[in-house]
């Protein structure tokens, strides 16, 4: 690992000012950054720890909504009764990251800011319709999670901008996440699919589908969602929704699997997550 200057600011304004400078990196849980610095794929001149800034950590309920601080450990997200009960897909996604030892370090803010299309918490946040609160020395703003990503490892965050919080509005009545993988634990997602639905007497009043690792950024399968809204989940509709979700995917072939396999599996996994989300609703 190359040497760097280490900063531990106690305010967001100070952290933002330091982070706006060139060759600066934020340190949250370190599970991506420290490994990157060892591999020399990350060679920052300054590393700014967010650990000492108050208010960035913890899960709170606000009316029907839930707010998750960016520095909240992934393990805490996984084990939170509020998240398990109301945003099951997110809790399931969190439980799929690395090992317990890694989830005790890794933060949800880091998982999202790293902007991997395969991040395990992202599909759950997409179907929760999460708002991402962002702070900088110039003030605050908020963007919808599906507008945060611009490419692999890329976000709309400007230099000096820091994710502070995820705000989840009132939850869907049922949700589910499936990670397509080979190993039980310590694997990256071939594909991640989440679905969340609201039901009224068997009719789907709202549906959200989030797809990870099948496009340059995590995406919502909006056409599939539109097909579902206002209808009952028949076998025929399920098939149409799966096909529409697969059509929304633009995957690559890599060492994990081929693009063709990914597209096919988006169809299959969309149907499975939808069925489970409806069963839970």
């Amino acid at each position: 690992m190359k040497g760097f200057e280490f900063f531990e600011p106690t305010t967001l304004a100070e952290a933002s000012r330091l982070f706006a400078q060139e060759h600066a990196q934020l340190l949250a849980g370190g599970t991506d950054l420290v490994i990157g610095m060892k591999a020399l794929t990350e060679t920052p001149q300054s590393v700014i720890s967010l650990q000492k800034i108050p208010g960035l950590d913890g899960i709170t309920t606000e009316g029907d909504g839930i707010s998750i601080g960016a520095m909240t450990k992934v393990r805490e997200v996984e084990l939170s009764a509020d998240i398990q009960n109301h945003h099951t897909a997110l809790a399931e996604g969190a439980s799929e990251i690395g090992s317990i030892q890694i989830r005790n370090l890794a933060t949800i803010g880091g998982n999202i800011a790293h902007a991997s299309p395969a991040a395990d918490t992202v599909a759950g946040l997409l179907v929760a319709d999460a708002q991402v609160d962002i702070a900088s020395a110039d003030g605050e703003r908020s963007v919808a999670i599906d507008e945060l990503f611009t490419g692999p490892g890329q976000t709309v965050l400007a230099p000096g901008e820091i994710i502070t919080r995820f705000r989840l509005p009132s939850p869907a009545s049922g949700s589910h996440y499936i990670k397509h993988k080979i190993r039980e634990v310590m694997d990256l997602a071939f594909i991640g699919v989440a679905a969340a639905v609201n039901l009224d007497n068997g009719t789907i009043t709202d549906a959200r589908i989030g797809l990870a690792a099948v496009a340059p950024t995590p995406i919502r399968a909006t056409e599939a969602e539109n097909l579902l809204r206002g209808n009952e989940l028949t076998a025929e509709l399920l098939q149409q929704a799966g096909e529409a979700a697969a059509a929304a995917a633009s995957p690559i072939s890599d060492l994990r699997c081929s693009a063709e396999h990914r597209k096919e599996m988006v169809d299959v996994l969309t149907r499975r997550t939808l069925q489970e989300a409806v069963a839970r609703a």
Partner: protein, 159 residues
Amino acid sequence: MAKHPVSLKVNGDDYDLLIEPRKTLLAVLRDTIGLTGTKEGCSTGDCGACTVIVEGKAVTSCMVLGVTASGKEITTIEGLASDGELHPVQQAFINTGGYQCGFCTPGFIMASKALLDENPERSEEEFRHALGGNICRCTGYTKILEAVLKAAEEVQTSA
């Protein structure tokens, strides 16, 4: 690069150190403090050999910068025995032969200890899954799992 003052409480002892920010907690424990019971395996968080307990939570110490551990309480394999008595997990690993070359053993024991502290009432399948972040390249998993289940039983009956 400037060194930073770091205060650690390791196995109950206080250490006031000056360390380079690029040193991992693993390196600080082994090279600066001299506690070499914690092992360096893959150094990328995949194998679990470097598992220590920080503030009650098992973490892979190869992924932690030592400077960020300042002010925290850390337990390593050297700190598990008390008054000459081995911890039930350590004793169970000995009794069942839950080790072969022994390199992964400290990590497995620390990860298991944290699991038992959190909740010893887990099924075999749950322990197996929860220990998925630890690798034994001798592949002595059967005896390791036996040891952990035995220790879980021990902890529950003595509680």
